[in-house]
């Protein structure tokens, strides 16, 4: 009886651990098809990278949490996402029923274009336009968000 009580106690602790630790990192994007190497240099090609992120966004059971994680990760990388990744991300926004997220994503990708915005952003919009029309997403320009709309006082200027 004593042994059973201890075993039950241990299984309880294990359950706590499995729930407390990575709730945030519960699903990773699918495994890379390249050979595992010891250095940090990734041997993944561009097509593999695109395919991986497109498959990630195209998951039918995707969560708003995972969509945001992938979008934040893409924002941190030194690249502008391919139109097919953008299309998959916009469809993922539709699946989680979040319109603001789609517009925010478009703004974020526009910001990633950096100094070459005039060349890259119109091309991206042109590629993504059928999806935008199909889902009913307005670009930030159509919403009037390419210019500042509201002003927010800088907290450091409030005395």
């Amino acid at each position: 009886m004593f042994r059973i009580a201890i075993q039950r106690g241990f299984s309880c602790v294990k359950n706590i651990q499995s729930v407390i630790i990575p709730y945030y990192a519960k699903i990773q994007p699918a495994a890379v098809t390249s050979v595992r190497s010891m250095s940090k240099h990734s041997t993944e090609t561009d097509e593999e990278f695109d395919a991986r992120y497109e498959a990630y966004f195209n998951r039918t059971d995707i969560d708003g949490w995972d969509v945001r994680k992938a979008m934040n990760d893409l924002q941190g990388m030194d690249l502008v996402p391919e139109p097919k990744i953008m299309i998959a991300a916009l469809r993922a926004c539709r699946r989680v029923n979040d319109y603001a997220l789609a517009v925010r994503f478009l703004e974020a990708v526009k910001d990633k274009c950096g100094t070459r915005m005039k060349e890259i952003y119109p091309f991206l919009l042109q590629e993504v336009r059928p999806t935008l029309d199909e889902l009913g997403i307005c670009t930030p320009e159509e919403m009037g968000y390419d210019k500042p709309e509201l002003h927010l006082e800088n907290v450091y200027d409030i005395h």
Binding site: A5, I6, R8, G9, S11, C12, N15, I16, V19, I20, Y23, Y24, G64, W65, R68, K69, M71, N72, Q75, G76, R94, N97, D98, Y99, A100, L101, V103, R104, F105, E107, A108, K110, D111, L135, G136, I137, C138, P140, M143, G144, Y145, D146, K147, P148, E149, L150, H151, L152, N154
Partner: protein, 199 residues
């Protein structure tokens, strides 16, 4: 229910964990005399944040895992929505589940502002701070020059007479007579036969 020992509670979603941890702490401190227990029990950081964000929905990992809101161009999706879930926003969310082409522009803007505080354009808008910085710098520079003028007039003693123009001319003529730097320097440019400067 998998655990039946003391202190084990049925596990639910994430909010249960923080309340469970708080409950554990309360259970543990129950046996201490009340004068040793602080009036405010320490709760884990997740529960601390959840108290402060009110009714806002936690939607992601955000910048560092804490349920806070911040506008950053390099982390465009914060961890929580910006506005609390009021009744209008809840009705808008129901409409959002339907076709987005049916949303009016005002509703789309309201949805955006419910989730986010500033747009990218507003985040990156120039503040004009450079004008006040430049003005302050120039004022400081002119103040410095005024202070120097005052020093020269009231603090410093008069210069020695050897600094007067006639004395300086005489010193210069002495340098020519002494053949200072005759190879590549000063008097290499002086024509001694004709007593004038070379062209």
């Amino acid at each position: 229910m998998t655990g039946a020992g003391p202190g084990c509670l049925p596990l639910g979603n994430e909010s249960d964990i923080s309340s469970m941890a708080g409950h554990l702490l309360k259970v543990a401190t129950k046996h201490l005399p009340s004068r040793y227990v602080a009036s405010r029990i320490f709760i884990p950081s997740v529960a601390y944040h959840k108290e402060r964000i009110g009714n806002r929905e936690v939607v992601g990992f955000g910048l560092n895992g804490e349920p806070s809101y911040i506008d950053r161009t390099d982390f465009p999706m914060p961890a929580i929505r910006f506005k609390e879930n009021s009744q209008e926003i809840i009705t808008l969310r129901e409409k959002e589940k339907d076709d987005w082409r049916k949303l009016t522009m005002d509703e789309k803007k309201a949805l955006y502002r419910a989730s986010f505080c500033q747009t990218f354009a507003e985040m990156k808008a120039p503040t004009g701070e450079w004008k006040s910085v430049l003005a302050g710098t120039l004022v400081a520079m002119s103040l410095t020059i005024w202070i120097y003028v005052w020093m020269k007039k009231f603090v410093y003693q008069p210069m020695p007479e050897s600094f007067s123009p006639e004395r300086k001319a005489a010193q210069f003529q002495r340098m020519i007579d002494l053949r200072i730097n005759p190879i590549e320097g000063l008097t290499s440019n002086y024509d001694y036969e004709n007593n004038r400067w070379k062209d």
